[in-house]
Amino acid sequence: MDKVDLLDKFQKIAANRDQLSAVGRDPTSIVIDRIISPTEAIIDGKPTILVGTNNYLGLTFDPECVAAGQTALAESGTGTTGSRMANGSYAPHLALERELAEFYEVGHAMVFSTGYAANLGTMAALVNTGDVVVLDADAHASLYDGCRMSGGSVYRFRHNDMTSLANRLRRLEDKASRTLIVVEGLYSVLGDRAPLREIVALKREYGAHLLVDEAHSLGIYGAHGRGVCEELGVMDDVDFIVGTFSKSLGATGGFCASKHEVLSLFRYASRPYIFTASGNPSVIATTRAALRQLQAKPEL
C-alpha cells in the first residue's frame, strides 16, 4: 500500500484553488486597499461596491460608535490579553450582557468573542452525549461545528420542510424532550426565513427545545429589530437566541440570549467561552454603542 504523507491532502486543495483562479478570482486573493464607506472600497485601484458585505445598518462609520471605540481604546487599552474565566470580566462585558438581555426581554445573555464561538460555545454547553440535535440541513457551518463539538446525536431535516422536521421528531419518541431544534431566523445563503410559528408548534407538540440563530436578522426584522422571532411573534417560545455583532452591529463578537436561568451556568461548561480571550474593550464599546443606535433610531 502506498504510504500517505500528512501534507498530501493539500494537493487536492491546491488543485481546487487553481480551478478557482482559472475561472476568475480566488476569493482569498481579494485585497481591500482602502475602505471608503460602509458599502464601498478601493480594490485593485478601483472604487468597488461591496455587495457581499453584511454591514446591514451601515454602522461601521457611525460617529457615536467610532467615538465609543476610541474612548475605550484610550481608557482600557488594545486588548484584554486573557479569558474571562482566567483573568476576570471587564465591567463593559457585563454591561453589554445586561443590555442584550434587556433588548431581547429575556432575562439572561452571555457574550462570546466571535459569532462562530457563540454557536460553538452555546451548543457545546447545551447538548451533550445522549442528547439530540435536529438541525435544518442548510444551517450555517458554525452550527454544524457546534453539533460536532457537543457530542450529541445529530439529525438533519430538509430545509424549512415541516413534514421532514415532524418525521424526525416523531422517530425520536421519548428522546424528543432532550432534543434541541436548531434553525436560523434568516438563512444567509438562501435569503429565506424559517417558518418559526410552525416550528414552535412542533416544538410544543413533541416537548423539544428551540435555538434560533438570528445572526443575519438582528436589527433587520421585528418592531424593535430583535429579528425574525419578534417579527413572527414567537419570542416567548424560543429557548435560545444566538447572534453576532459582526453584521448589523458592525463589530466582532457573538452572544446567546435566553429566558432560561441556566444560561449563566454555560460559563462553566462552554470551552469556546472559557478558553478564548475576551472581547477587546474597544470592540465591546462599539457594540454597545451600535445596540443603542439600533434602539434609538428605528429608521436605520
Binding site: A137, C147, R148, S153, V154, Y155, R156, R158, S164, N167, R168, R171, L172
Partner: protein
C-alpha cells in the same frame, strides 16, 4: 439478514439511479465520490432520500466513515433494526 442486506442495496441502487448515470455498475465497494463523481452535498441529499424511503433517522456521526454503497447498507440496516 442477508436478504435484508440485498433488499437495502437494491433500494439504494434505485434511489441512486435518479442522480447517477444508469450505465454505471453499482457494487458494494462503489465509492459515492471517487466512483460516482458525486459532490459531498449530493451524497447528503441522497442519504436524506434514503432516510425518507426507509423512514429511519441516521445521525451524522454514523455517516462520517461511510464512503461506499456497502458501508451505507450496513448503517441503514442498523437503523432499520432500531
Amino acid at each position: 439478514m442477508e436478504q435484508d442486506t440485498k433488499e437495502i442495496e437494491q433500494a439504494l441502487r434505485k434511489i441512486l439511479s435518479g442522480s447517477v448515470d444508469s450505465s454505471v455498475d453499482l457494487a458494494s465497494e462503489t465509492d459515492f465520490v471517487s466512483d460516482l463523481g458525486l459532490e459531498s452535498i449530493q451524497v447528503l441529499e441522497f442519504i436524506m432520500e434514503v432516510e425518507e424511503h426507509f423512514d429511519i433517522a441516521i445521525d451524522l456521526e454514523s455517516l462520517s466513515d461511510v464512503r461506499t454503497v456497502g458501508e451505507l447498507t450496513k448503517v441503514v440496516a442498523a437503523a432499520v433494526r432500531d
